[in-house]
């Protein structure tokens, strides 16, 4: 299980290879990559800045992965989330779940992303033609996260 918060970019292939080589028993690898969309709440996004809470962010991600591990049969999982300045189309987040079977990997990857969006301390600020503004949390994300309760 790896949790990394970093400014630099990540390489999906490199991360996939690390898991593949360490775990010959896996039959499924599900990856999710979140990107900076060029169109945000305030129009065309020129740039984004991501802030986090050092110490808590990592802890919250680890707690989330432990919960995923309790709920599904997971062999390994990597989460990398970037912070700092990111241009449009940049990679923001990687969730990589390895499992013996695909269903556990799919479910766990979706769970991690849904819950990350509502309970892990990251904040996005977008730059548009009008200047910088903080991205507002979406009610649809709260609903998606709440569907995993129970």
């Amino acid at each position: 299980m790896r949790v990394i918060v970093q400014e630099k970019d990540f390489d999906l292939r490199e991360e996939t290879e690390k898991i593949r080589q360490n775990h010959p028993e896996i039959g499924a690898l599900v990856s999710f990559v979140g990107l900076v969309r060029d169109h945000g709440q305030g129009g065309k996004v020129l740039e984004m800045r991501l802030e986090h809470y050092p110490g808590m962010t990592e802890k919250a991600l680890e707690a989330l992965l432990s919960e995923a591990n309790r709920r599904w049969e997971i062999v390994d999982v990597t989460v990398i989330h970037r912070v700092g300045r990111l241009p449009a189309s940049a990679q923001i987040v990687l969730v990589l779940v390895a499992s013996q079977h695909r269903k556990d990997a799919f479910r766990a990857a979706e769970f991690v992303m849904d819950r990350l969006k509502t309970e892990v301390p990251f904040w996005k600020k977008e730059k548009t033609a009008e200047g910088w503004h903080w991205v507002e949390a979406k009610a649809s994300d709260e609903i998606a996260a709440s569907e995993w309760i129970g």
Binding site: Y53, A60, I92, W134
Partner: protein
């Protein structure tokens, strides 16, 4: 007690501050105290926010005291 602010609240109030008090207080009592500091504080606390105590998401009725770390921030928007 250390209070940390993030994102919109950090821009308004600064990164952190130390406050001391003699007995345990609930998080909402501390928020009331901060809100009473002036209109710029009241404005920020009229918008949605969340709290964490000792780096864990918390409710407003949690009791805190001097050794605790309280963080106040807008609803998160990562991913």
């Amino acid at each position: 007690m250390k209070i940390l602010y993030f994102a919109r609240l950090r821009e308004a109030f600064g990164e952190s501050e130390e406050i001391g008090f003699s007995e345990e207080k609930t998080v909402s009592e501390i928020i009331d105290m901060l809100t009473a500091r002036g209109p710029e504080w009241a404005v920020e606390f009229s918008k949605p926010y969340r709290v964490a105590v000792n780096r864990k998401m918390a409710n407003f009725d949690v009791k805190v005291s001097n050794p605790d770390e309280l963080a106040i921030f807008p609803p998160v928007t990562g991913g």
